[in-house]
């Protein structure tokens, strides 16, 4: 990844990584690299996950018992730690994404072009 790449792509907003991980795991269990990959793909290659900060985030979520990790085997036969959503995690994801959507809507409203007066 070159510096240019990084400039063209958006870095993640602070605090959104947790939500993205939950969203990704809502689709099904993934290992860490898979999660990074899915986020990148689903964002149309615009959101770049810092692999280094992915793991502390995973650990944080796991310690809150929203996700749980288990060692398994990847599709190409590598040992990997697979994460899946717990019931509490699913609940958290729903409320968190609702909050996010409302936030985006509000921001969009603020940013909307000035209404024409009169």
């Amino acid at each position: 990844m070159s510096t240019r790449d990084a400039e063209e792509r958006d870095t993640l907003l602070q605090g959104t990584l947790d939500l993205l991980i939950l969203r990704t795991l809502a689709l099904g269990p993934h290992h860490g690299q898979g999660i990074a990959r899915v986020i990148q793909q689903r964002s149309g290659e615009t959101l770049l996950v810092d692999h280094g900060s992915l793991y502390p985030a995973l650990q944080r979520l796991e310690s809150r018992e929203w996700i749980k990790g288990e060692w398994g085997t990847s599709s190409n036969n590598r040992r990997a730690r697979f994460y899946s959503l717990t019931a509490a995690g699913r609940k958290q994801f729903l409320s968190e994404s609702g909050r996010w959507n409302r936030l985006v809507e509000s921001i969009a409203r603020v940013l909307a072009p000035d209404p024409v007066e009169g």
């Binding site: 990844m1 290992h31 860490g32 690299q33 898979g34 990959r37 810092d50 692999h51 280094g52 900060s53 793991y55 502390p56 650990q59 944080r60 796991e62 310690s63 018992e65 990847s74 190409n76 590598r78 040992r79 990997a80 730690r81």
Partner: protein, 862 residues
């Protein structure tokens, strides 16, 4: 979240990088390039690992271990500091643990009986005697008529019998027990069975139950003892059971059914033969309700037996309360005292740590500058303090163990339940809790002030730091507190010393020097009547008198300060209504008694050779009796009648007045005693008093041989010197005093160390200034004044606070001192002066150091 090892996390990162490389290869990259790219894409692996690590829940364990390792290293590096700190805390915690183990054993742990909170003891009340033992027929009536007890029993712990069959005849403590006693207590026999109701009456096969102690000591806890026969006073008894350990039932070796004695003359209604009632209250019944019910039964008995039971009532109180009531004030005083010792120890160690944290400012500043968080530094210091406290706690428990062993072995009189005093789990938990609290307490101030430092100054290398004045104030306050606490302890100890010294100076009324005492019991089956008893005891006395070294010997039914028999008497010409007769101590003596214990005959005559059986019945009275019952009259020639005004006994004629002798203990007044010739009223147990010119141990063997030459089956029991007997009566007071004096001594030493520390620190901090003062022409004396002022102000405030505190706490002492006011001015002033003197002494060395300052080097030092 379950614990994940670092290794597990590393595995995950490795797997991530491999998966990423796989993907890149799939996209067409070469393997080497893909691996490199994947690693780069991941970023800093170590940093990720660190971030993983510090976010984990387990990190504190690791940090704690690290801190403890570091703390241990720091302690090893300054062994003097560590040694003093640990020893100080060990003293504090040790003393607390020891006192707690006593409090726990004596006051807190439950009695070894079923539902002990419902157990009560019951006694009778006579006019003029608030606690008398129980008449057997009265007890029988209680049993039938009670509405408040699930069960009521009696026991008599005072009997003695001679056990024969071993090498030597010996006196054993025999307890009389009603058949239901152990049921009422809820005490199942350890082996065998209890008494059956049909064994609890006269004239049946004799059975005996062993106390646990006697069983262990004599039979090594063997079950085969069941069915054996023991010979007591010549009668065979079959062993049917063994009790578990008991508490509060007196020192009894063997229990026999009380009913065996039911036909004894002393078991009639008007007698009180040493029996004590034990009741189990029905659920929900209060002590007041019980006493009301006992009063009701007593009224019924009085109505039915107006002659024998006039004026007799009954009362009871909680079994446990009766057991601990006399020791409770002493224990609560010691608890407060020992807490003060611990506080002083804490203050001292806190002071030490403060001094040290000041000298460690540089290290701490460096740590902070390198990015350690304040929390991390505090936890580091805290683990040091906790470690010191923990080690101190372990050493302290060792000290406590030794102290408790020593206390239990010395068997201080008046301390109940000695066998229940152990260092057990409860005590260890207490010690651990105290250690932790101590660690926190000790570390709180230093840790706070240590992290509140300026980063720049210490690192610049200046020895003087900006925290100095605050720290000095803090240390001054700690010293004040320490002085105040030490003074309070000193005053308490001073009061007890004065009290005990008053007690030991009390004139008991006899001269105990060189007097040896012992008991002789004549078994009833061999010496059934007065003549045979008189003959045997006379012969024994003659043999004892001829032993070399014996200057005089006498028989007596009671020893000084240990009266054991009281009679209601009527003074001729001053009759009282039935039941209202004054109760006076009664003592039968032989001819040489007054000479042997060196009592004085104040009026009338002494004991004459003619005061024997068949002659005029005579009596000596003491001053108290003379003053109380013959005010302004000459008592000589007056007559006294045993019992009521209409008694049919022959009256006794007063032939002399002797000096008062204390009848219970050095701390109590005499009630009045009547002395009668043994020959005119013999009995089958008598005490022997022997005045010798040789030590007690050398006289005893020939005395024993003399007794054995009369009857080889007669032991001399509980032999001891009269001096020992008398000092034993204030044994509990002396014990409390010694313990408090020890605590006060420790407190004083710790306070001295504390004062020394603060003044030394003060001098060290002011060295620069002192140097300047000297350079500017200050004389040595000015420097002394400067420092003395400091000492006096700090210690003076402490003394003032301590005096006020001691006043406030004087209530704790009120029941413990004898003829000394708990606010005794002399003790207060003396203690305050002593403490100030010690403080001044502790300040001498640092002061001297200050006056020897070389101005040039002091000013250049920084």
């Amino acid at each position: 979240m379950p614990y994940r090892s670092q290794r597990d996390f590393e595995d995950e990162i490795r797997s991530h990088i491999a998966l990423e490389a796989d993907r890149l290869v799939e996209e067409g990259m070469s393997l080497d390039a893909a691996q490199l790219a994947a690693r780069r894409r991941f970023g800093n692996v170590t940093r990720a690992q660190e971030r993983y690590h510090s976010a984990g829940r387990w990190v504190w364990v690791e940090q704690l271990l690290q801190d403890v390792r570091y703390a241990a290293r720091m302690l090893r590096k300054s062994p003097l500091f560590s040694g003093i700190a640990i020893l100080t805390i060990a003293l504090g915690i040790g003393a607390n643990t020891a006192v707690f183990s006593i409090v726990n054993g004596v006051l807190l742990s439950p009695l070894p009986y079923r539902a002990p909170e419902r157990l009560v003891k019951v006694w009778e009340t006579l006019p003029g005697l608030s606690q008398a033992t129980v008449s057997y027929p009265d007890y029988k009536d209680w049993q039938e008529r009670t509405r408040v007890f699930d069960g009521v029993a009696v026991y008599g712990p005072y009997a003695n019998k001679t056990l024969t069959g071993g090498d030597l005849p010996e006196r054993v403590g025999v307890g009389l027990a009603s058949a239901n006693l152990f049921d009422v207590l809820g005490l199942a026999p350890a082996i065998g069975r209890g008494f059956r109701a049909d064994e609890d009456r006269p004239g049946v096969g004799r059975v005996v139950i062993l106390s646990n102690g006697f069983w262990q000591q004599r039979y090594g806890g063997e079950a085969r003892v069941l069915g054996r026969t023991l010979t007591l006073d010549g009668d065979p008894y079959t062993v049917i059971g063994v009790l578990p350990p008991t508490v509060g039932l007196g020192s009894v070796d063997l229990w026999v059914p009380v009913g065996l004695s039911a036909n004894d003359p002393s078991f009639t209604r008007e007698n009180h033969p040493g029996l004590i009632g034990v009741g189990r209250l029905k659920r929900g019944v209060t002590i007041t309700q019980m006493n009301n019910d006992l009063a009701r039964i007593s009224r019924e008995i009085q109505a039915e037996h107006p002659r024998e039971s006039a004026g007799i009532g009954a009362e009871g109180a909680s079994f446990r309360e009766l057991l601990v009531e006399t020791i409770r004030p002493a224990l609560s005083l010691l608890t407060w005292a020992v807490l003060s010792v611990l506080l002083i120890a804490c203050v001292n160690v806190a002071n030490l740590l403060l001094a040290r944290s000041t000298s460690r400012q540089k290290e701490i500043a460096l740590r902070l500058a390198l990015g350690a968080s304040h929390r991390r530094i505090r936890s580091l210091l805290l683990s040091e303090h906790l470690l010191v406290a923990m080690i101190g706690g372990v050493v302290g428990v060792g000290l406590a163990y030794a102290a408790v062993r020593a206390v239990v072995q010395t068997q201080p009189p008046g301390v109940p339940r000695l066998a229940d005093i152990h260092i057990n789990l409860a005590v260890l938990t207490f010690a651990a809790a105290v250690s932790v609290v101590t660690g926190l307490l000790v570390g709180l101030l230093p840790a706070r002030s240590a992290t509140r430092i300026d980063l720049i100054e210490p690192l610049k290398g200046s020895g003087r730091s900006s925290a100095t004045s605050g720290t000095l104030r803090l240390r001054g306050a700690l010293m004040t507190a320490e002085v105040a606490l030490a003074l309070m302890l000193l005053i308490g100890a001073g009061l007890l010393i004065r009290s005990v010294s008053r007690l030991t100076r009390v004139n008991p009324g006899v001269d105990a020097r060189g007097v040896t005492t012992g008991w002789i019991f004549l078994p009833g089956n061999k010496y059934p009547d007065a003549d045979r008893q008189r003959l045997a005891l006379d012969e024994i006395l003659q043999r004892v008198e001829t032993v070399p070294g014996v200057t005089s010997a006498a028989l007596t039914s009671a020893f000084p300060l240990a009266s054991n028999t009281q009679n209601g008497v009527t003074f001729e010409g001053h009759p009282k209504p039935a039941g209202q007769e004054p109760l006076l101590n009664y003592q039968a003596i032989s001819r040489e008694y007054f000479n042997t214990v060196r009592m004085r005959v104040l009026r009338g005559r002494g004991f004459a050779a003619t005061d024997v059986k068949g002659a005029d019945e005579v009596v000596w009275i003491d001053e108290t009796v003379a003053k109380k019952f013959f005010p302004g009259e000459d008592p000589i020639g007056k007559r006294i009648l045993r019992g009521r005004f209409d008694s049919k006994e022959r009256p006794w004629t007063v032939v002399g007045v002797v000096n008062d002798v204390l009848d219970q203990s050095l701390g109590e007044r005499a009630n009045g005693t009547l002395y009668r010739p043994f020959d005119q009223e013999p009995q089958n147990w008598m005490g022997l008093v022997i005045n010798t010119t040789m030590p007690f141990e050398r006289v005893l063997p020939p005395v024993r041989r003399g007794i054995a030459s009369v009857d080889p089956a007669l032991p001399l029991a509980s032999e001891e010197t009269l001096e020992h007997k008398i000092t034993q009566t204030i044994g509990q007071e002396t014990f409390t005093m010694f313990v408090l004096v020890a605590f006060a001594g420790v407190a004083l030493i710790l306070a001295a160390v504390g004062v020394y520390g603060v003044i030394a620190y003060f001098v060290a901090q002011r060295l620069h200034e002192i140097g300047i003062r000297i350079a500017l022409g200050a004389r040595r004396s000015d420097i002394v004044v400067l420092i003395s002022r400091r000492v006096l102000v700090t210690a003076g405030i402490g003394v003032a606070v301590g005096l006020i505190g001691a006043m406030a706490a004087s209530g704790l002492m009120s029941t413990l001192v004898y003829e000394v006011a708990p606010t005794d001015g002399a003790t207060y002033v003396g203690s305050a002066l002593a403490l100030l003197a010690v403080a001044a002494l502790a300040a001498v060395v640092p002061t001297l150091r200050a006056t020897r300052v070389n101005p040039a080097s002091a000013m250049r030092a920084d």
